[in-house]
Symmetry: D2
Subunit: 150 residues, 4 copies
């Protein structure tokens, strides 16, 4: 089963475009029978999990705490790490492919780990980093994912 790591800010709000793109992406990942892997929290992580669940998909949250109470309500599988921000590399390592949407320093750390681990990665309105393709929209993200999965 293909695992898609989706990374981005925990602060993105439902009315923001990044949230909407992540939500749409979650739906498309689920429709393809793939699995969402993320940090399990709010913002982009919530959006992609919500989208995936609405299409009957499966979602994994790799969480900062031991208790896992910070998980958004759309996380199916809770990986409770107790490692705080140090869980970031595990999110991208667990993706066969990585999508970065918006984001702040946590997302930048994850983009860096995706590049360290030589993961296929595409961004959308995220940090400008050498070697990171920036998609124009959801269509180009999906094209990248579909190409990857062939």
């Amino acid at each position: 089963m293909i695992q898609v790591a989706v990374i981005g800010s925990s602060k993105a709000l439902p009315e923001e475009e990044e949230y909407k793109v992540a939500y749409q992406l979650g739906k498309e990942i689920a429709k393809r029978g793939w699995i969402v892997v993320c940090g399990g929290r709010t913002g982009i992580m919530e959006a992609v999990c919500k989208g995936a669940k609405e299409e009957g998909g499966l979602t994994v949250g790799i969480l900062p705490s031991y208790e896992g109470t910070e998980a958004n309500p759309y996380v199916d599988i809770k990986i409770k790490t107790g490692m705080s921000h140090n869980r970031n590399p595990l999110v991208v390592a667990s993706g066969d492919v990585v999508v970065a949407i918006g984001g702040n320093w946590g997302t930048l750390s994850e983009i860096a780990y995706a590049l360290i681990l030589e993961k296929p990665i595409i961004g959308y309105k995220t940090h400008s980093v050498e070697g990171l393709i920036q998609a124009r929209g959801i269509d180009q993200i999906l094209e990248f994912l579909d190409t990857f999965s062939r």
Copy 2:
């Protein structure tokens, strides 16, 4: 969804009783609609995943490497950590309840973490540790899991 962490030696062989108990346990976890969480490798981890998959269950392997190639063929969700043995606490932290079957030093480290994190835990032919109930067989393990889930 209830997540059951199953821990034990990577060296247990199919002809050994511990392997058979883990395999049977995997089946019962799947029948109850619960999820198997384990270290994703051979031995007890393979046995419980194999049992779960034969009943249509879902299995999660929290793996030592970044590549995940050490996963047994019955692992659905691969959490690739790159943390070697340091991934052990994540396995028990991710269980709502923990079952220890047989095992060596890795299993002892996981039992210790289960006790640190105050997880409900039951053992079978595993390390004798204060505060760890030793089940007589699969029935008592299931009774413990069923009591827990009520």
Copy 3:
């Protein structure tokens, strides 16, 4: 420089024998020009650091938090991990030799990791674990350390 990992309960009090043995051990480690490595907190960790500092030794605390404010006042080098209990394996991995004094589940996890990593280890009034020598007192601990360092 030889690094001696000293593990044990954060709850040991100065009036307890285990605390006194750890304090004495800290002095002896420092006299030999070796380095104390520990979890950096209270109890046994404080005792061994205090002893070492009184003899002009050097102490390292591998701490659970990112901030390091939980360090006892006798820690020189602060390794701030943000990994909570998951920092335990790093303490024993960083010792060329390991001494376990008293202790609870955290100490048991560290003993298990010492055995996983095949470290020379000696205990004093600690968990009874196969393969772990229990010293009768400080003299036998020092004999073990001196033998090891030759």
Copy 4:
């Protein structure tokens, strides 16, 4: 004791300017009685440790492996993590201040963690990241460190 985290590429060579700046920085850190904390390997890490040792300073290497054999010869204290690249956040978390010199994706991950953890950080010929001051040379780095330590 002030701990200065120095991060940068493991591939920098002695004839390169970044290596020379890191070497000079190591000397200055040692002269001030501060401690070098780094990833303990080659390149920039070796340069800063070498400089520090030539001035009688103390160096800490937070290493990827459990064995620590990858440490450069100028590392005094070896923190052996077994966590591969996941040890990166520990390097910056353990610095009271962070200096980034040159570098590749590993360095970018460390810069991101420095920003997540709100560490004072200065760069030299490193990744262009919002919020990261780029020094013109060793003098400006030292000015930053001296200001910080007052």
